[in-house]
């Protein structure tokens, strides 16, 4: 090896590092290392003068590699690699020694921390001595994006991106777009009609020349990587041609099969052939093959007989469509925490105990009772209604540890809506505390208490049961007065926790993107990358990422759209060249790396592993799995790892 000339730059990070680590000593000690030609320390290496010092030192001292002892590489690796490039050497000959998060911040003893900072820096110097000057891999970009989920998040993201000039494929698993927002009656804090503000956006989606809408479809397989994903979408048969359907509704009249209507959460029924609701997009009927008496062989056939437009076709078959896209936005939303799991509140078996979404359908003008609040058991107007907050939320022992964030607000909204429908009724709300942060939110809750005379009781409900006279007895505590409270209510509404939807689970599996401890999709950084997933080119929007209300969902969807527009505005993307490489002489073709690779980047050719460099993210799973040391990640070779370990062990 020709003589290495490494430069070491030790950052004080103000006092973040310098308070615990003797940075001058680190810089001086590193100057003694055999391969080090230059060493300095500086108060803020990432500041403009700091960066210029790095560039100047590389030029003045003919450095061929750089170690910056500073914060985590996730923060400034790119900064200093860019500096290396600007000074005329490969960015991949620059490595970060993390002496802040992994040293200064976790130690108190100055001598020990300094000794450790020296070891960390030394190990990076030994590593960089064997780093190769690599060239980034150029990846062509497909200027098309897929949005998974047709709720408000997916709709907003799709519209923003389509208006920005991108081709958009919007995939929705149900027969219509709209999502949960369309089930809502009114929205807080303005009490404007949810359907009225959403349906124009739905129409815009259906008419937008750049949006290809695929409803009743599911994403089955995703391969490829940022800039070029291949997506297999299963298009389920609706058995109705939306172009031909005249929406005359004759088919539902003759259909003999009656099943619960999902859109009204089972409060009403629909036929096997149905349109989810009048404003559905696409405006067409769907034949639910699970509910139908039988299509193969045809056991009824009445709908087809009665359809004058000839829109019904029993021969439709599932179809798999492949789309090439450059980026993916996941907006797969939430489900309510199942009422069955709340044993103390009857596990869903007590009549007139509803969840929040069911109550929305009772209030909605298009809902089960045409906008009259009537309780399901006897269709009478309930005169006393108890709303219970935090059902399933904030309960780490039994249910979800997290706060579902929107329940305080929508319970206040429910109480107000109820009072507007039944002015002589009494509304009670059991709460733990009220979280009403947000523009005009606190005022909204105050109005629920003052204008609409809702009785707020601070405490939890221990249990409830049905009484003989057809009421629901709610037994709770008011912790402010210290009294036990018993209310014989006509109806109870539970503010159930939000949990990741089934579709969110499925999307995480298919896209191989991480989930957090509660099962929501994990963002790449909780503060600085809130709409990026950990996988490049996959973005998150809406409640799939965590509980949020409509304004926040729309903001996140637009943010994700902006990210995608930025990404796909480039002609080519550059992919990191620090990817896996196979040593053919050692590969036995055992296929373990193929199974271990989370990115499907490795396949077997002629009995040897072959890496697709564009797909490889350089995570090193293959290298860790290989028993034969036959696969390694560039610039993290076993030899480098070995030398880093030796440096840390001070051999």
């Amino acid at each position: 090896m020709s003589e290495k000339r490494t430069g070491v730059f030790v950052c004080h990070c103000g006092n973040n590092i310098a308070a615990t680590v003797d940075v001058k000593k680190v810089a001086e000690t590193m100057a003694q290392e055999g391969t080090v030609a230059y060493s300095q320390d500086y108060v803020y290496m990432c500041s403009d003068p700091g960066q210029n010092a790095v560039i100047q030192a590389i030029k003045d001292n003919q450095l061929d590699s750089v170690v910056v002892s500073c914060c985590s590489p996730s923060l400034h690796e790119k900064t200093f690699r860019d500096n290396a490039e600007r000074a005329g050497i490969s960015g991949f000959t620059c490595e970060i020694a993390n002496i802040r998060e992994q040293c200064a911040w976790v130690h108190k003893n100055r001598d020990e921390a300094t000794a450790k900072a020296i070891k960390i820096s030394r190990s990076a110097i030994r590593r960089v001595a064997r780093n190769k000057s690599l060239e980034p891999i150029a990846v062509p970009v497909v200027r098309k994006v897929m949005v998974i989920g047709g709720g408000i998040a997916g709709i907003q993201a799709a519209l923003d991106m389509a208006n920005g000039g991108l081709e958009v494929v919007l995939v929705e698993k149900l027969a219509t777009i709209g999502g949960h927002m369309l089930q809502l009656s009114e929205t807080f804090p303005t009490l404007d009609c949810s359907q009225c503000i959403l349906s124009p956006k739905m129409v815009e989606v259906s008419r937008h020349p750049k949006i290809k809408l695929m409803t009743y479809s599911e994403v089955k397989e995703v391969s490829g990587s940022v800039g070029n994903f291949q997506v297999k979408i299963l298009k389920k048969p609706t058995y109705v041609d939306p172009e031909a359907c005249k929406l005359c509704d004759e088919c539902t009249v003759v259909c003999p099969q009656v099943v619960p209507n999902e859109h009204d959460l089972g409060l009403t029924a629909r036929r096997a052939i149905y349109i989810p609701f009048a404003q559905a997009i696409p405006a067409s009927y769907t034949l639910d093959e699970d509910a139908c008496l039988g299509l193969n062989p045809i056991r009824c056939g009445k709908c087809k007989d009665v359809c004058e437009a000839g829109a019904i076709n029993y021969d439709m078959r599932p179809e798999t469509v492949t789309e090439n896209v450059g980026a993916i936005v996941v907006a797969t939303g939430f489900d309510l925490y199942p009422q069955e799991k709340i044993l103390e509140y009857g596990a869903g078996n007590v009549e007139d105990v509803l969840d929040g979404l069911q109550f929305e359908r009772l209030c909605s003008a298009s809902g089960a009772t045409k906008g009259h609040v009537l309780r399901p058991s006897d269709r009478k107007e309930p005169k006393e209604v108890v709303f219970i907050q935090c059902v399933g939320s904030r309960d780490p022992a039994q249910h979800c540890a997290y706060c579902s964030k929107i329940c305080c607000m929508y319970t206040a909204k429910h109480a107000r809506l109820y009072k507007h429908h039944v002015p002589d009724g009494k509304a009670y709300v059991f709460y733990i505390d009220i979280r009403s942060g947000g523009k005009n939110y606190e005022e909204f809750v105050q109005r629920a208490m003052e204008d609409d005379e809702t009785m707020y009781l601070r405490g939890r409900v221990s249990k409830l049961h049905r009484t003989k006279d057809g009421k629901v007895r709610v037994m709770g505590t008011d912790t402010l007065t210290g009294m036990n409270v018993e209310i014989d209510a006509d109806m109870v509404v539970l503010a159930l926790a939000m949990q990741p939807s089934k579709g969110t689970e499925e999307a995480a599996r298919v896209l191989k993107i991480g989930r957090d401890k509660d099962g929501f999709l994990a963002e790449a950084h909780p503060k600085l990358k809130p709409v990026e997933s950990v996988t490049g080119g996959i973005y998150l929007a809406g409640c799939a990422q965590g509980p949020k209300d409509i304004p926040e969902t729309v903001s996140q969807a637009s943010a994700a759209a902006a990210k995608v527009l930025g990404l796909l505005s480039q002609a080519t993307l550059s992919h990191t060249p620090t990817v896996a490489r196979v040593r053919n002489s050692h590969c036995t073709g055992c296929e373990m790396c193929v199974t271990a690779c989370p990115y499907d980047a490795i396949r077997l050719e002629n009995g040897k592993a072959v890496v697709n460099e564009v797909l490889c993210e350089g995570c090193g799973s293959c290298s860790a799995t290989c028993l034969r040391a036959a696969i390694e990640v560039r610039n993290t070779s076993p030899l480098q790892v070995n030398e880093m370990i030796e440096a840390v062990l001070s051999f």
């Binding site: 002489s585 036995t588 296929e591 009995g607 028993l627 034969r628 076993p638 070995n642």
Partner: protein, 343 residues
């Protein structure tokens, strides 16, 4: 109970019809009572095959060596090779198939069931015989019939059986082309991991002290590695001194050889060697116990391998060698993995 003549007939028949190019089996050894592995290629050699409690060897190793021969001579396999396989041998073959070492159609497995028995532990037998040298051993139902200069002795099999056989649950080779003997899968002579449990009853200091004594003894003869059918790598991570140089080996690779473990047989290096081997066998070791049997300094290596096996079973419900299509332990993960970091 298997009649050895059935094994011979099967082998003869396969060779005569040309369905296999050779049969790997056991024949009478040249020293004492112990059988030895053999490869027969002619029908008339079939009568030399034996089946008795000294058929210790895991013949999957010979299968690996056959494959290496072929590759070295740049020959294609042609007709499959036959192999007489006990339960543990067959499990090892399954792991090799999982790892694509050869194809299923390249092997013809003549399964032999150990039924309620297993192979001998020569040390246990020597204690029982009180100094008399055994000259022959045979299966006799739940007993072994052992011949010495003083005549024939009936000894209860469980008194002198190898530990690995006492704990064995799958004495029947499930993966086979033809099988002889009764399927006694699930038999329960001694609790599984019994030896490990006895060992783990000690406190940590005692256990560490124990392993220090074991690793001190190791002479790094590598018999454990040589006898293991799973240690099939051409170049082992522990010996960089004999780095295999193939035509495609680049100068960089030659320069980049790494010495993770020193050759010197010191305690720390020995410990590193044995622990590396145990980790490389996690989810692959089928507990044939050959490493422990061949160790010239009596290091109880099954304790290390059993520990890994039990961890894999308890954490992931993983059974090495259970089925060819199954996942491998270290290369797969489940969506419902209890570890949060992996989801």
């Amino acid at each position: 109970m298997i009649n050895v003549q059935d094994i011979r007939d099967t082998a003869r028949d396969l060779l005569a019809k040309g369905e296999v190019r050779a049969v790997i089996g056991w024949r009478a050894g040249s020293r004492g009572m112990a059988a030895e592995p053999c490869v027969i290629t002619k029908p008339e050699e079939a009568d030399s095959l034996v089946w008795d409690p000294t058929c210790y060897h895991n013949l999957a190793l010979n299968l690996v060596n056959d494959r290496k021969e072929l590759r070295h001579a740049k020959q294609s396999p042609g007709a499959p090779i036959g192999i007489v396989a006990k339960g543990c041998d067959a499990r090892a073959i399954v792991v090799l198939l999982q790892e694509n070492y050869f194809k299923r159609e390249d092997v013809y497995i003549i399964g032999v069931s150990c039924e309620n028995s297993g192979v001998l532990d020569e040390k246990k037998l020597a204690t029982q015989l009180k100094g008399f040298a055994p000259t022959a051993a045979a299966f006799a139902g739940d007993d072994f019939s052992v011949t010495t200069a003083k005549g024939e002795n009936k000894i209860a099999a469980r008194e002198v059986m190898a530990d690995r056989c006492l704990e064995c649950r799958t004495p029947f080779p499930k993966e086979n082309n033809t099988a002889l003997g009764e399927d006694k899968t699930g038999r329960d002579i001694e609790p599984q991991f019994a030896a490990l449990q006895r060992f783990e009853a000690q406190d940590e200091a005692a256990r560490w002290d124990f392993w220090q004594r074991q690793f001190d003894r190791c002479i790094r003869c590598f018999a454990c590695r040589s006898v293991c059918p799973m240690c099939f790598c051409d170049e082992c991570v522990v010996d960089s001194i004999e780095m295999k140089i193939a035509p495609e080996t680049t100068a960089e690779e030659k320069a980049n050889r790494i010495r993770w473990v020193e050759r010197s047989a010191t305690r720390a290096e020995n410990a590193t060697y044995h622990m590396t081997r145990a980790l490389h066998l996690a989810g692959r070791c089928v507990d044939c116990g050959e490493c422990e049997r061949v160790c010239p300094v009596n290091i109880p290596l099954r304790l290390l391998n059993n520990k890994m096996e039990r961890e894999a079973r308890e954490a992931f419900g993983f059974e090495p060698g259970a089925s060819i299509g199954g996942p491998s332990l270290v290369a797969s993960f489940r969506d419902d993995d209890p570890g949060e970091f992996i989801r």
